[in-house]
Each structure stands twice: as C-alpha cells, then as structure tokens.
C-alpha cells in the first residue's frame, strides 16, 4: 500500500500501483498522462476539505430517503448452466475454465 505524501502529490509510483490494482498495464507516456489527470482530480476534490465536517456522519448513499429495501426469502428461477456459461471464454463439464490459480506444492 502506498501512503500519499503530505503535499498530496501523485507520483508515478502511485499511478503504477493503482494501475496494478485495477489490472491495467500502462506505458511510460500513459503513466505521465494519468499522473497529471489524477493529480488534477484530487486537487478538485480537495476543495471539500474547506467544509467543516466535524460531527457529520459520512454519506454512504445519495438516496437518503431510500432505506430498508429487502427481498423476501422466496426462491426465484436460476438460469441454466448453458446460459450461465454462454459468455465464458472457456468452459468444460459445466465449469468455467480459467488458468490455474494455485501453484504446485
């Protein structure tokens, strides 16, 4: 995890780190472009720091009037395995097939 420095500058390392988390690969030039973009975005959002938010509960949702939306515990039809797998790049025996994710021990 990368700590932002006190002057809140976005470094090239920060961009690479965020890109890695998002599984995006960036070229050198792109890294520079996004570094600038991200810095501008953060600077814009930083204006919010001027507001006194002491004793204000963080907003987690903008639809403040909408609360307690439940569904009852009643089964609805599932889709078929064929349909579920219809967009899969690879499949076998009813499973999604992916590159092996664990190493041999």
């Amino acid at each position: 995890m990368i700590e932002r420095t006190s002057d809140k500058k976005i470094t090239r390392d920060t961009v690479r780190y965020v890109a890695d988390l998002a599984r995006i690969s960036l070229g050198e030039e792109e890294t520079d472009i996004f570094r600038e973009h991200l810095e501008q975005i953060l600077k814009y959002v930083e204006q919010l720091e001027e507001v006194d938010t002491e004793n204000v509960i963080p907003t987690t949702h903008v639809l403040s009037s909408m609360k307690n939306i439940f569904r009852e515990d009643i089964p609805a039809p599932s889709i078929s395995p064929e349909e579920a797998l219809s967009n899969a790049p690879d499949k076998a025996d009813g499973f999604f097939k992916v590159p092996r994710v664990i190493k041999e021990r």
Binding site: R71, P75, P77, V98, R100
Partner: protein, 486 residues
C-alpha cells in the same frame, strides 16, 4: 490455574488465539438474489445475473439473512448496529465474478458479544466476540494439478455468510476447541445454520501468536487456514504452539504469515508470503441502500429466540430430576434434547429414556457420525421399544437388537418383534413344565440355593433360558424357581 500446577509447569510463553468463523446461513435463497441456497447441485446450475456479477444486475438483501444475523447477535449478547451498510471488498480471484465481495467493513451488524465456555474442571471462561458481519460467499474452485487449468463453480457464490470474529481471549488449543463446540451448539439451537463442516457451512480460520509469559506486547500473528474439523483446529494449534515455542527458544523471530494445515501430514505449511499486503480498497456499496434497525425489529427478532442452552439446563434439572452429566449430554445438541423430550412425552420415565438415549442411541449416532434425524428413528419408535422392554414383552437384549434393526432398515419395531418371534414367554402356565424339569435335572444347584448360595439361582434361570431358546422372561422364570424351591 491452581498453585500446584504453576509450580509443576511454568509456561515460558503465553499463547494468544483468536478465531474467525464463517457460518453459511440456512436461508432458502442466496443473500442478494433468489437463487436457491442448496449444497451439492450440478455446477453452475444455481446462478443468475446477480450472483454471476453481470453488468446491470442489482443485489437486493434477503430479509431472512438479515434477521438471522440479528438473531445470532442477540444470542451472543452483541450490540446490534442501528444503521447497517454494506461495503465492497475488492480483489481479483476467479471464485468472485464481480471482482469484489459484498461485505461489511467498519460497521458490522453485530459487535461486542461473548461466549461462555466451561474448562475441564468446571471453571467458566468468557471469550469476547469482537464482531459479526454479513457477507456473500464466493464460488468454488477445482484445480487440475498438474494440468494448466482451474475450474469454477459459482453455485456457492452469494450464499449468505455470517463471519464471527472472537477477541484474542483464547489461551490454548483446547480452549479454541471448546469455543467452537459452544458456538456450534448455540448456532444449532438458533436454527440459523446446520454447521456442517464437511459441506463447508461452518468454516474456521485461527490466528495464533506466542509471547513471553506475562509480556504486554503480542508476538507476530500466524494465520492458519484449511481447518476442516474442530479436531483439526485443535491439532493445528497444538502444532503451532510447539513449532513457535521451539523457534522462540532458538532465538528465531516468527514471521507474520499465513500457513495451511496439511491434513495428511498433520503439519502447518507456510503459504508463500505475498510481496505486498492486500489492499482491498473497501468502500460503501452504492448498489445497496442503508438499513435502519429499529428497536421494534430487534424486539421482534428477540421473540424468535428459542430456549438457549443455559435455560434448558436449568429446566431439565427441575423437570426431569436427572444428574448433571446426563443433562449436559442431552442438551449438547438441540435435536438430541428435543428427541429426548418427545420420547419422554410418550414413555414418561425420564431416567429410563435418558439411559437409552445416552447408551444405544448415542452409540448408533457415533457409528453413523450424523444427525439424529439421519438415524431414521422417531421418538415414537424409541418409546415403543422401551415400552416393550420394560413391560417384559421382549428382553432388554432383544430391545437393543430391534432398535439396531429399526435404524438399519427403517422397518417397524412391531414387525421386527413378530417376524423374529422375540416375544418373551412370561406366561406362568407355559413356563411351569420347563421350570419343573430344570429343578428335577439340576438337584445339586437346587440344594446349593437352599443352603444359601444365591448365585445358584442364576444358573437355574440360565437353564430355563436354554430350554426355551432364550424366549423365557428371565425375571418371571427366576420368581417361579424361587417359589418352587423354597
């Protein structure tokens, strides 16, 4: 610990253990969609756009899962969060099609609870519960080793999970085991999960660290995964205590890491440590609006709480007059306790029923290793068999064999007794001739009994049994013999 024990063995290190338990809640449907919450179906047959994480689909919270979580919270003596929100835990792994898990980060639905365990010797200890939060389960992966692929089944994706996190109050592997037994008992009483570790409806990870005895600062934490039974938890922790003690004795530092319990080799193995700490980037899930938990909701859930183990114990003590050990066994599982009470309603001698339950029924239960329902034995049938034995219609030995056959075949006790002609002959008229001939043929034993050798009567009863191929009621035969000899 008693003073004598301290002198005997002064531990060099304190063991500090915390447990994270995942419970699959036994709702009909998944937590955020209407797919059935069922184990063992063909792969990818219990899925829909929501649990597959298709773009544009929206999760909607299952009310029952929410209520079950509150129910557990109340039973654990937890505070219930008045405003509940869900957060996204972001990570990439193929068991999670959305690339995030809907979970709860900083505002878990339940916090600050406790579980009381009873240590060997009867001392009680309270283990704190830090928090319990709702989340969705991930899918299941199969790995083709040494092949190049993994296979993903997303049926489990979206199964409601309640993660219960204990305080690091557990000071030994045995206490960890007792904590889990108690937690499982409580959850089974509540009826919100079947707690079946084999099917993964109860899963547990353990955190353990050692520190010099009495030290304030905790040692490095080692997390143990892949614990498939309560016994495995205890064994893996025992292994870790030994491993870490040895390392510390050698002056080595314990690295903070995750280790896997290897069931066959009975050791923990280090998972390769990741270069970077996981960065889950939690943030509130905008797809789910907040939930306000009113006092009314809490109270209505409280009304659904069943009689919990402590109250049941007290009631059994007063109502049935059984010993403490017997009651402890009967209330160790809600189904067993219910089974006992239903049987007593029909055959109203609690001690006799208890003896059958703790003897024969428990024996079959242990052999089959499953729940009391899976034995296929109803309280009515057990009561019927006990009735047959206590009325002398069949012998105690026959009764046990009838019970075994009922459990094995599911046939009725009455049919088995008839077909195998197990009925005892208690009719004195029928036994008269045989008793007389046994007396005539065994004069030595008869004289022995007359001269005060009580044991001789046993031999004579045995002869009657032999002549009737075991059909005679030994009690009746004994009485008849005594009467005639004296």
């Amino acid at each position: 610990m008693r003073a004598g024990k301290v002198l005997f063995k002064m531990a060099k290190y304190d063991t500090v253990i915390g447990l994270e338990t995942h419970l699959q809640l036994s709702t009909e449907t998944k937590i955020f969609c209407g797919c059935g919450n069922v184990f063992g179906d063909p792969p990818n047959s219990r899925v829909c756009p929501v649990c597959l994480g298709h773009p544009g689909s929206l999760p909607v919270l299952n009310r029952k899962a929410f209520e079950y979580a509150i129910k557990v919270a109340l039973a654990l003596g937890c505070g219930v969060q008045r405003t509940v929100k869900f957060d996204r835990k972001n990570y990439y792994y193929p068991d999670l099609p959305k690339n995030y898990q809907i979970s709860q980060y900083d505002m878990p639905i339940a916090y600050d609870g406790k579980i009381k365990i009873t240590l060997p010797g009867g001392v009680h200890k309270v283990i704190g519960i830090t928090r319990a939060h709702l989340e969705e389960d991930a899918g299941k992966l199969l790995h083709d080793i040494p092949g190049p692929s993994s296979y993903v089944d997303l049926n489990r994706t979206g199964t409601p999970l309640l993660e219960i996190v204990s305080e690091p109050d557990i000071s030994s592997p045995e206490e960890a085991y007792l904590y889990l037994v108690e937690l499982k008992r409580l959850i089974r009483y509540l009826g919100v999960s079947d707690c079946n570790m084999e099917e993964g409806s109860l899963r547990c990870d353990a955190n353990i660290s050692l520190k010099p005895a009495g030290a304030a600062v905790l040692g490095s934490k080692v997390e143990i995964k892949n614990l498939n039974s309560f016994k495995a938890v205890r064994e893996a922790l025992n292994f870790e205590v030994a491993r870490q003690t040895e390392a510390l004795d050698e002056g080595e530092a314990i690295p903070q890491e995750t280790r896997l319990w290897h069931e066959e080799q009975r050791v923990t193995i280090s998972m390769r440590t990741k270069e970077e700490a996981q960065d889950y980037r939690y943030f509130p899930d905008p797809d789910l609006v907040p939930f306000e938990v009113s006092s009314g909701v809490i109270e209505s859930v409280r009304e659904t709480l069943p009689e919990l183990p402590a109250s049941k114990q007290e009631r059994f003590l007063g109502q049935y007059g059984l010993g403490e050990k017997d009651i402890e066994l009967l209330i160790s599982d809600i189904d067993l306790a219910d089974f006992f009470e239903k049987t007593v309603k029909i055959f109203s001698d609690p001690q006799v029923v208890c003896n059958w339950v703790k003897g024969e029924v428990m024996m079959h239960l242990k052999e089959q290793g499953e729940s009391i329902e899976s034995l296929g034995l109803s309280p009515q049938t057990l009561a019927e068999i006990i009735q047959m034995a206590s009325s002398g219609r069949i012998s105690g030995l026959s009764a046990k064999s009838v019970l075994k056959e009922v459990i094995g075949t599911g046939r009725s006790a009455e049919d088995i007794v008839r077909e195998r002609s197990l009925e005892q002959v208690s009719d004195k008229g029928e036994l008269e001739g045989i008793v007389d001939s046994v007396i005539a043929d065994n004069q030595k034993s008869v004289n022995d009994f007359r001269s005060g050798k009580e044991a001789a009567i046993g031999f004579l009863v045995g002869q009657v049994m032999k002549k009737t191929s075991g059909k005679a009621n030994p009690k009746v035969a004994g009485e008849m013999l005594r009467k005639r000899i004296i």
